[in-house]
């Protein structure tokens, strides 16, 4: 059974609205899952590669908290954190990355193609910019059907230079589509520093050219992410059209498993690590009186769960070769 059940996704999503500690725990879960996936990769348990998102956790959780399960999100191959924030379980994510039948795509998608209708996650996109027009389509569908659903497109700074970005923003604005475009600017498009590929520093400045409001956001602060996305979501739901948000963030890891990220200068990495979204959130929790023992316990519990999950998944049989013939076409007994 690979599909995430609706009640599981809904419950995991709604948890994010119960308070700061819940959001912190989800960010911690994302960090620990991603670290575990890197470990499993080093052990040779991941075929292909994986693009993990350590450092981006506040962006994922802020978006998850600001949106509903019946909104649809198009995001990228660096999508494990978004999947977890939207409501996909750690088990389904890890199993998919390891190519097992219990993965959310039955093991046929792999790391770059996580998916869950119940969580509102469109199959994640491995082509840079591939999902941006698709989010416009989600908005179009909601507009025609008269619902208050929205389409959310999450993509990197590199994608802000691809044609699909420009076409999509223009289209969403001229049709006033209920969409929110969110850039995760981590300063690197694969191995290239943004200064070498892009003549402007704040990508949100492009919003005006496309007839929509834009905002630069501190992507390491989950509260800032939540507030800004909420504003954009409300604008979209009200029929006023799209927005462009630029989350300033950073990845504490290479582009993919095979990338040691030598192009990230040591001082730059260190400075961004001081603004680790987990540390930023922890400081606020402590200020609000949450005992550090609770924080430590959360970590212990998640690690224990991950140990159990990883063990089961590594021992799970890979799909039978007949599985590759499933779902090529819809209907007609595929």
């Amino acid at each position: 059974m690979t599909h995430i059940p609706s009640d599981v996704a809904l419950q995991r999503r709604q948890e994010l609205r119960t308070g700061a500690f819940a959001r912190y725990k989800r960010m911690l879960e994302i960090r620990l899952v991603e670290d575990r996936i890197v470990e499993l990769g080093r052990e040779g348990n991941v075929d292909g590669t994986a693009h993990t998102c350590q450092g981006h956790e506040a962006v994922s959780v802020g978006i998850g908290a600001a949106t509903n399960v019946d909104d649809y999100v198009a995001c990228t191959y660096r999508g494990h954190g978004h999947a977890l924030a939207l409501g996909v379980t750690p088990e389904a994510v890890i199993a998919e990355v390891l190519g097992r039948p219990s993965g959310c795509a039955g093991g046929l998608g792999g790391s770059m193609h996580l998916t869950s209708r119940a969580a509102g996650l469109l199959p994640t996109f491995a082509i840079v910019g591939g999902g941006i027009p698709v989010a416009c389509g989600v908005g179009l569908s909601a507009q025609v059907r008269g619902t208050d659903q929205i389409g959310v497109s999450i993509f990197g700074d590199g994608a802000a230079n691809i044609g699909a970005f420009h076409e999509s923003l223009n289209l969403a604005a001229v049709w006033k589509l209920p969409t929110v475009f969110i850039i995760e600017n981590n300063l690197y498009g694969e191995y290239s520093a943004i200064g070498n590929t892009t003549p402007i520093a704040d990508l949100a400045d492009r919003a005006g050219s496309y007839g929509m409001p834009g905002a630069v956001v501190d992507g390491q602060d989950v509260d800032a992410v939540l507030d800004s996305v909420t504003t954009a979501v409300e604008r979209a739901r009200s029929g006023s059209g799209p927005s462009l948000l630029e989350m300033k963030t950073y990845r504490y890891i290479g582009h993919s498993h095979s990338d040691p990220a030598k192009y990230q200068p040591a001082e730059e990495l260190a400075a961004w690590k001081e603004r680790d979204p987990l540390l930023v959130a922890e400081a606020k929790l402590v200020e609000q009186g949450v005992p550090t023992s609770d924080i430590d316990q959360a970590r212990t519990e998640i690690l224990a769960e991950l140990d159990e999950i990883s063990k089961r998944i590594v021992e799970e049989a890979k799909p039978d070769r007949s599985a590759m013939f499933n779902h090529v076409f819809a209907g007609e007994g595929n």
């Binding site: 599909h3 998916t115 209708r117 591939g130 027009p133 989600v138 699909a164 001229v174 819809a330």
Partner: protein, 334 residues
């Protein structure tokens, strides 16, 4: 019964579908206010309004991706591509994304979208507006491809494509848009994946698509030999059983293609039937095609590009007389 031009038949099919199902929408360049540059969506904006009939900007990547997103989330969009060449910039959305969504989502996100595109030579539009390009769509499982051969065919194919839960590319040879045919819309149903006999005979099987079907039928009409003329109708998946049934009867297979020889759709048919019917063939499989050149401008040169009924008839006569595939006209010294 109605006597309709092919473009009118297409408008009629769209209207009939949109009346029956309010999730069907139409989008494309100049499809609304202008009724389509080839008048294939006349009257739709008046009847169904601007929510469901959308004039897009010149943004194929954007609106094909939007069609995908809308199809994945509750609508049945029909996107028009003015000239099939314009799909080039949007191939990612169609071939890499739409064709794989159902697979990647383990069946949770089927994509009931249609992309209609005018195609083909015969009007003197020059090499960037005269190709058929079905080759762009055939080697990518998850996509269906059908080609209209006249008004009744266009009507039936389009309605079947809209009802299909998979992404379907419908190619419409624009040289046929003005062609009239009298037919009953209630008796024009087409099953995708099924080929249709235009005529029955004993000496040879002529298989074609699009404008080639009329060319083949005309060639057979005044010939001394008799032919099974088959309109493949759907290219992906094509009806192997019907072609085999015919070839087992006639022992000779000829593909009539308006496209360039190398890598044309006929090569796949030829290889498949060659394998299955090898012992039953009286002659080698023969492909009658256009030469491997871009479509030349000007009516005179263009007439040499697309196989004519006279040329087809002469080639088939020689095949039957000699049991050898005759040289193409360009291989014979002038």
């Amino acid at each position: 019964m109605a006597k309709l031009r092919m473009n009118q038949a297409i408008s009629r099919a769209l209207a009939d579908e949109m009346r029956a199902d309010d999730t069907v929408i139409v989008l494309g360049e100049d499809v609304g206010r202008a009724g389509g540059v080839f008048k294939t969506s006349e009257g739709l904006l008046d009847e169904f309004g601007p929510l469901r009939v959308r004039d897009t900007p010149i943004s194929e990547m954007g609106f094909i991706g939007a069609a995908l997103g809308a199809a994945a989330t509750g609508l049945r969009p029909v996107a028009e591509i003015m000239f099939v060449e314009f799909l080039g910039v949007a191939l990612d959305q169609l071939v890499t994304e739409a064709a794989k969504f159902n697979y990647l989502s383990a069946g949770e996100f089927p994509v009931p979208m249609v992309v209609r595109a005018s195609c083909g030579a015969g009007i003197g539009y020059g090499c960037q507006h005269s190709q058929t390009l079905e080759g762009w769509f055939v080697n990518t499982p998850g996509l269906k491809v059908a080609v209209a051969s006249g008004p009744k065919s266009a009507y039936g194919i389009l309605r079947a494509a809209i009802r299909d839960d998979n992404p379907v590319v419908v190619l419409e040879p624009r040289v046929l848009y003005g062609l009239r045919e009298e037919f009953d819309t209630t008796e024009a149903a087409v099953e995708l994946g099924r080929a249709y006999f235009r005529s029955r005979g004993d000496d040879v099987t002529l298989v074609s698509l699009g404008q080639g079907v009329r060319i083949a039928a005309a060639a057979a009409e005044s010939a001394s030999w008799s032919a099974d003329v088959i309109d493949l109708s759907t290219l992906v998946p094509w009806d192997v059983a019907t072609v085999m049934e015919s070839v087992q009867h006639t022992g000779r297979l000829v593909l009539v293609e308006e496209n360039c020889r190398s890598g044309g759709w006929g090569a796949d048919i030829a290889a498949e039937i060659g394998e299955r019917a090898f012992g039953q063939l009286r002659a080698p499989i023969c492909r009658i095609t256009a030469p491997d050149v871009p479509v030349p401008a000007g009516r005179d040169l263009e007439k040499w590009f697309v196989p004519t009924p006279e040329y087809v008839a002469a080639q088939v006569s020689e095949l039957i007389a000699t049991d050898r595939v005759p040289a193409s006209w360009w291989e014979v010294p002038a």
